[in-house]
């Protein structure tokens, strides 16, 4: 018995809209299943019959009949009615046009004045200030003597040095403190507008200033089945270069099956997944799951996404997901993880560089508790890295306590975060509706 997905593959192949990867899947399916082969042949033959069906010509009288009916129908190109005149008023035949022209002229004059003042306002002030200054003196040879004036572009008159010509025996020289007196007044460069990131909204906690640019960063949305495409992989990499921790929301019809796909993809990348679930049967139905790992680099997360896409498109299984959202992690996720794990996950904590020495501890620090634990419970497991944990997330009643053995095992074995690792929270949630 062929599954719905296999039938869809066959009919899509008949339509001739199969991309290359699915074409390979089709060949595998036909090679493996005689039923699929027979069905495909049957579908193709039906299509061939339809394409070969004889075309029936319209009766010769059709066009005449249509044309005969046209004059009786409404003529679409009837002469347009003249616009109704407005009774009374100023120049009624002109309607609203004079008012519009007058308003436009007024607006243009106002805007022109504003622009003129904005552009030449300082220059006018400068001219007035220059007029108030002494004219160049003329020496005995009739040559003009240069007067160097320091002019500030501040409109406040008290800033300008007042010339005192009578007190000066020679043509006065107003020395400029700058080396080149002809240099233009120094411009003050405004600080660059601060850029805010709406999605990674920790910056938004700071106060916005007028004229700050706010480029809106939209979440990366798409179909899970497309995550192995080159453009989706490139966008994922681009997103991951911008932040240090991420959340991937996956929408699934059956969240438990969706989580299975996530766990399978994680295991394919060598992760050890510690999974715990609700004990109450009522809560086992479609809870929202959270999957957390801090053992994958950005490149490995790309592979993880590609693995999810490959599972989506596998011909032998039903697609588990519809859409995904990929967004930077927020404080809320940090809080929720802290509640679930009982410790702060440190989403934005920088990983220890390789070779860096950890803070030295005293020789006896922590020895006694370890000895007691070893004696009572056996030796503690050594951190192995490459760990992940999957827990029920919502509803709250479905959550397992932070003292769960799976949580403890995850915390014991996760070790220090490796260099380049990007904390990733995957939330498998039911499709809305």
């Amino acid at each position: 018995m062929l599954t719905e997905a296999q039938l869809e593959l066959l009919t899509a192949a008949v339509d001739g809209v199969l991309p290359a990867p699915q074409e390979a899947a089709l060949r595998r399916l036909i090679a493996a299943s005689p039923e699929a082969k027979a069905t495909f042949r049957h579908l193709l033959q039906n299509q061939r019959r339809l394409k070969a069906a004889r075309r029936h010509a319209a009766p010769a009288s059709l066009s005449k009949a249509v044309m005969a009916r046209l004059p009786a129908s409404t003529v679409p190109f009837a002469t347009p009615a003249k616009p109704a005149r407005v009774a009374g008023g100023f120049l009624p035949h002109l309607g609203w046009r004079p008012y519009a022209v007058a308003a436009s002229l007024f607006f243009a004059v106002v805007m022109g004045s504003f622009w003129f003042n904005a552009v030449y306002g300082d220059a006018n002030t400068l001219s007035a200030q220059q007029k108030s200054l002494p004219r160049p003196a003329v020496d005995t040879d009739g040559r003009e003597t240069t007067i160097v004036v320091a002019i500030a572009l501040d409109r406040r008159p008290e800033v300008l040095p007042s010339p005192r010509l009578p007190a000066l025996p020679n043509p006065p020289t107003y020395a400029d403190s700058r080396p080149n007196p002809k240099a233009p007044p120094e411009l003050v460069v405004a600080p660059r507008p601060h850029t805010y990131d709406v999605i990674g909204s920790r910056d938004m906690l700071t106060e916005l200033k007028p004229r700050d640019l706010i480029p809106v960063r939209l979440p990366f949305l798409g179909s899970v089945g497309d995550l192995d495409r080159a453009d989706a992989q490139a966008q994922l990499a681009q997103e991951m270069a911008r932040d240090s921790a991420f959340r991937l929301d996956l929408f699934a019809k059956d969240t438990t099956k969706g989580l299975e796909s996530v766990v399978t993809a994680a295991k394919a990348l060598g992760l050890t997944v510690h999974q715990d679930g609700p004990s109450d049967d009522r809560l086992k139905r479609k809870p929202t799951w959270i999957f957390y790992t801090e053992s994958l680099t950005a490149e490995e997360i790309g592979k993880f996404a590609a693995e999810l896409a490959a599972q989506e498109k596998a011909p032998d299984r039903q697609p588990a997901f519809g859409w995904f959202h990929f967004v930077p992690a927020q404080q809320a996720e940090q809080r929720d993880l802290r509640d679930l794990l009982g410790v702060d996950p440190g989403l934005w904590k920088k990983p220890m560089k390789s070779g860096a020495n950890p803070t030295p501890k005293s020789a006896t620090g922590g020895t006694l508790p370890e000895v007691i634990t070893t004696l009572t419970k056996g030796p503690l497991p050594k951190p192995t890295g490459n760990q992940a944990i999957a827990l029920p997330y919502l509803p709250h009643a479905a959550r397992v306590p932070a003292s769960s053995s799976k949580v403890k095992a995850f915390l014991d074995q996760r070790g220090d975060r490796k260099v380049g690792a990007v904390p990733l929270i995957v939330v498998v949630k039911p499709l809305p509706g």
Partner: protein
């Protein structure tokens, strides 16, 4: 939209009804064939096509020209067919197909060899009977895709539904047609490219 159609529409809008007559001549066969496959009744098909052209003429001013003229025409025709069906309950005569009879004349008068002509007319009758047994919604997408050779986008435009809906309708239509055409029917034994026997 091609330049000829644009010119003819422009002329028709300026009052030259002969230009619209040329459009009718250009598309009447194609439209009639598609509508006949859907209605399975030549009289109904004729009525629907006539009404469609008249409605198109009356609404010509509202045609924006951002789509092909014939897809717009198909849309009007299929809407007209549905309206006619609602009014008279005659247009999509599913009962005719269930009785194994078809309103479409299966005879191909162009065939020279009697044996081939007979075989082909049997196939035609079988195909039309099968089309009549599937739902009108599925029949329309099959006609537009396989008989009219339209793309998904064009079918979506004609029917005014998203492309995803067209894909799923075609999928279900092909399965429904497969169920009503028995595997042992006449043309079933011919080999198909891409599938080894």
């Amino acid at each position: 939209m091609n330049a000829d159609d644009r010119r003819l529409i422009s002329d028709a809008l300026q009052g030259r009804s002969a230009a619209f007559g040329e459009l009718v001549l250009r598309y009447q066969d194609r439209l009639y064939n598609a509508v006949l496959r859907v209605t399975d009744n030549p009289d109904d098909a004729l009525d629907v096509v006539q009404d469609a052209f008249v409605n198109a003429y009356q609404s010509l001013k509202s045609f924006k020209g951002d789509a092909e003229f014939y897809t717009w025409l198909y849309r009007i025709a299929f809407n007209t067919a549905v309206s006619l069906k609602r009014k008279r309950r005659l247009v999509v005569s599913l009962d005719a197909g269930r009785d194994g009879e078809s309103g479409v004349d299966p005879e191909d008068h162009c065939e020279d060899r009697p044996g081939v002509a007979l075989q082909r007319s049997e196939d035609e009758a079988l195909l039309q009977a099968a089309l009549n047994r599937i739902s009108a919604e599925h029949r329309i997408v099959l006609v537009l895709k396989d008989i009219e050779g339209m793309k998904y986008e064009q079918i979506a435009e004609v029917l005014g539904v998203p492309i995803g809906t067209i894909r799923s309708r075609l999928h279900r239509a092909r399965l429904e047609l497969r169920d009503v055409i028995s595997p042992g029917s006449a043309a079933q034994d011919s080999p198909v490219e891409g599938v080894e026997n």
